[in-house]
Amino acid sequence: MNRATAIRESVGDRVFLALIYIFLCCVLVAVLYPLIYIVSSSFSSAQAVVSGKVWLWPVDFSLMGYKVIFSNPAILTGYMNSIIYTLLGVSINVVMTVAIAYPLSRSTFVGRNLIMMLLVFTILFSGGLIPTYLTVKAVGILDTRWAMVLPGALSVFQVIVARTFFQSTIPKELGEAAELDGCSDIGFLWRVVLPLSKAIIAVLILFYAVGIWNAYFDALIYLKSPELYPLQIILRNILILNTIDATALVDANQMAARQGLRDLLKYSLIVVATVPILCIYPFVQKYFVQGIMIGSVKG
C-alpha cells in the first residue's frame, strides 16, 4: 500500500512534502535551540558563559549557579510563596469553576441563561485596573496572601470549557435516574460527575497552575511586603531590573569576573523557575488535547 501511494505521488507532491519537512525541522530547531542553550549555560562555569564558549552543550560542567541560588534566602522565600499561592489558588479555582460550571450544564437549572450572560459580559467588558485595585483594597486583602488568590479565583473562559465538557459527557438520563433514586444534586456531582470528569479537571489544574505560577502582575500591584513576594517578582528584580547595563559594551573585560557569576545566575534561575511547572505537563498531557478539543471546538 505504501509502495502504491509512493508511485502515485507526483513529483510536485513529493517536493511539497520535502519542503514541509524542511520547514518543520527549522521550526523544531528555532524552538529547541534557545531552550537547550539556556539549560546548557546553566550547567557551565561562569567563565565559559561570559566568554561565549557555550553554544550547544555545557562547557566546564559546574553547578555553581544552582549552589548560589539555593543559598539565597530571598529566592527560597519566593519559591515557597509561589508554591503556597499555586496550591491554594489551584484548589480555590478548580472548586469554584466546577461549582458554577456544573449547574450551568444542567438544562433544568432555572436562571442559567441569566448567569451565563453575566459571566460572558465580564469577558467583553471590565471595570479596568484602577477600580479593580480599589475594590481589592476595599475588601481589605491588599498586601496579604489572599490578594494573590482571590482576585483571580475564577476564569470565565475555563467555566465555559468545563460547562461544555459536562454537557457533552454526562448523559442527561444519568442525572434523571439519580434524581429518581433520591440522590441529591451535590451527591450526584461528587459521586458520579467528578469521577467521569478527570480529563477536564486535569486541564483546569494545568491552566490554573501555569497561570498562577507564572503571574507577576497581581503581585506587582497588590503586594508591598517582600516576604510575600512570589518567585516571579524576585526573578524580575534579579533578571530584568539589573539587566539594563549600557556600560556592558564598554568595559566588558574588567567587569567580567564580577559579571560572570551574575550572568550564570540568570541561566540557572530561568531553569529553576521553569522546571517545577514543566513537571506537571507529562502528568496531564494524557488529558490535555482531549480537554482543549472539547473546550475549543465545541465551545
Binding site: F23, Y37, S107, P131, V139, L249, I270
Partner: protein, 326 residues
C-alpha cells in the same frame, strides 16, 4: 448550546404532559428551584466572586467621570463629566499611545494569527507519528515559560555582550546591534517572541479541527486527483475556517489590549518611544502616579473601543461567513 437548553425544557414539558396556564408553569419553576436548591448553593460562592471582583469594579469605573477621592469613594466623589477624557484626548501622548498600541497589535495579528495555522497545516501532512509528536511536544513547551522568564531570555539572547543573536550578527560581519535599546526593533522583538512562545499552543486547536474533518472528503479529493496543495486549499483550510474565524473575532476584540505584562517588562528608557502602550500608561499614571480618575478614563475609553470592535467584527463575520460568537 442554547438549543440544547430549549430542547431540554421542552422534553420535560412533554413528558409530564401538562401544558396549561402560565401560573402553573411559574409554580413548577419554583418547585424546580426548590428541588434543586443545592445547585444554587453551589453557584453562590462563584457568583459572589463575580459580583465582588468583576461587577463592583465595573460600577467603580464611574470614577472616570469624577474626581476620585479616597474619603468619598466611588459614588461620593465630585462629578466632572468628560473632563478626564478631554484631558486624555488633548494630551501630547494621545496619538503616540494609539499609534504604538495599534501598531503592535496589528503587527501581532498579521503575524501571530496565521503562524499556528501554518504549523498545524504542515503537521497535518506528516504521517510519521513520532516526528509529528516530537514537533508538537517541543513547540508546546514554551507555553510553560513565564512572561518574566521569557523577557529575560529575550534580553540575554539579544544582549550585545552575552547573546548568541549578536554573536551571529557579528559573525556575519555586521556591527553589533543593541536590540533592546533601539526603538525600531521593539515591535518585531515583541511579536516574534510571542510567535515563538505561542505557536505550539495555538496549533493544538487547529490540529483538533483538522482531525475532525470527515475522511470521506480526503478520499474524494484523492479520487479527483488533487495534489497535496489542492487538498490543503480545498479540504483542510475550509475545515479549520470556523475555528479560525472565532479566534480572529476574539483577537480583533482585543486589539486595544496589548499584553501589559510583557510590554512593561521589555520597556526601558531607550525604547519607550515605541513601547509605551495604553495599558502601561494607565499603570504608570494611575497606580504609580496615583492619578486614579484620569487613568480610569483612559482604561474605560480602551475597553469601549474593544467592545465596539468585537461587536462589529462579530456582525461582519456573521454576515459573510455564518460563523460568529453569538
Amino acid at each position: 448550546m442554547k438549543n440544547t437548553g430549549v430542547m431540554g425544557v421542552r422534553g420535560n414539558t412533554i413528558r409530564r404532559g401538562d401544558k396549561r396556564s402560565g401560573g402553573l408553569a411559574a409554580g413548577r419553576m419554583w418547585r424546580g428551584i426548590k428541588r434543586h436548591w443545592q445547585l444554587y448553593l453551589l453557584v453562590a460562592a462563584p457568583m459572589a466572586y463575580i459580583v465582588i471582583f468583576k461587577y463592583i469594579p465595573m460600577y467603580g469605573a464611574q470614577i472616570a467621570f469624577r474626581d476620585y477621592s479616597v474619603v468619598k469613594g466611588f459614588t461620593g466623589s465630585e462629578f466632572v463629566g468628560l473632563k478626564h477624557f478631554r484631558a486624555f484626548f488633548q494630551s501630547p501622548n494621545f496619538w503616540l499611545l494609539i499609534k504604538n498600541t495599534l501598531g503592535i497589535s496589528l503587527y501581532s495579528l498579521v503575524v501571530g494569527f496565521p503562524a499556528p495555522i501554518v504549523l498545524a497545516l504542515a503537521l497535518n501532512e506528516i504521517r510519521r507519528v513520532k516526528f509529528k509528536k516530537t514537533i508538537q511536544m517541543v513547540t508546546f513547551a514554551p507555553f510553560f515559560i513565564s512572561t518574566v522568564v521569557m523577557v529575560s531570555m529575550i534580553m540575554i539572547f539579544l544582549s550585545p555582550r552575552l547573546g548568541f543573536v549578536d554573536h551571529i550578527v557579528q559573525g556575519l560581519g555586521f556591527e553589533s546591534i543593541n536590540f533592546m535599546g533601539s526603538p525600531g526593533y521593539f515591535k518585531s522583538i515583541f511579536v516574534w517572541s510571542n510567535v515563538w512562545q505561542g505557536i505550539g499552543y495555538g496549533a493544538v486547536i487547529y490540529l483538533a479541527a483538522l482531525a475532525g474533518i470527515n475522511p470521506e472528503l480526503y478520499e474524494a479529493a484523492k479520487v479527483d486527483g488533487a495534489s497535496r496543495l489542492q487538498k490543503m486549499r480545498h479540504v483542510d483550510i475550509p475545515g479549520i475556517a470556523p475555528a479560525a474565524i472565532i479566534l480572529l473575532i476574539l483577537s480583533v476584540g482585543q486589539i486595544m489590549n496589548v499584553g501589559f505584562e510583557k510590554v512593561y517588562l521589555m520597556q526601558n528608557p531607550l525604547n519607550v518611544s515605541t513601547s509605551e502602550v495604553i495599558s502601561t500608561y494607565v499603570y504608570k499614571i494611575g497606580l504609580l502616579g496615583a492619578n486614579f480618575s484620569f487613568s480610569s478614563a483612559v482604561d474605560l475609553f480602551n475597553s469601549l473601543i474593544n467592545l465596539v470592535l468585537l461587536i462589529s467584527v462579530n456582525a461582519v463575520a456573521k454576515r459573510i461567513s455564518d460563523n460568529s460568537l453569538w
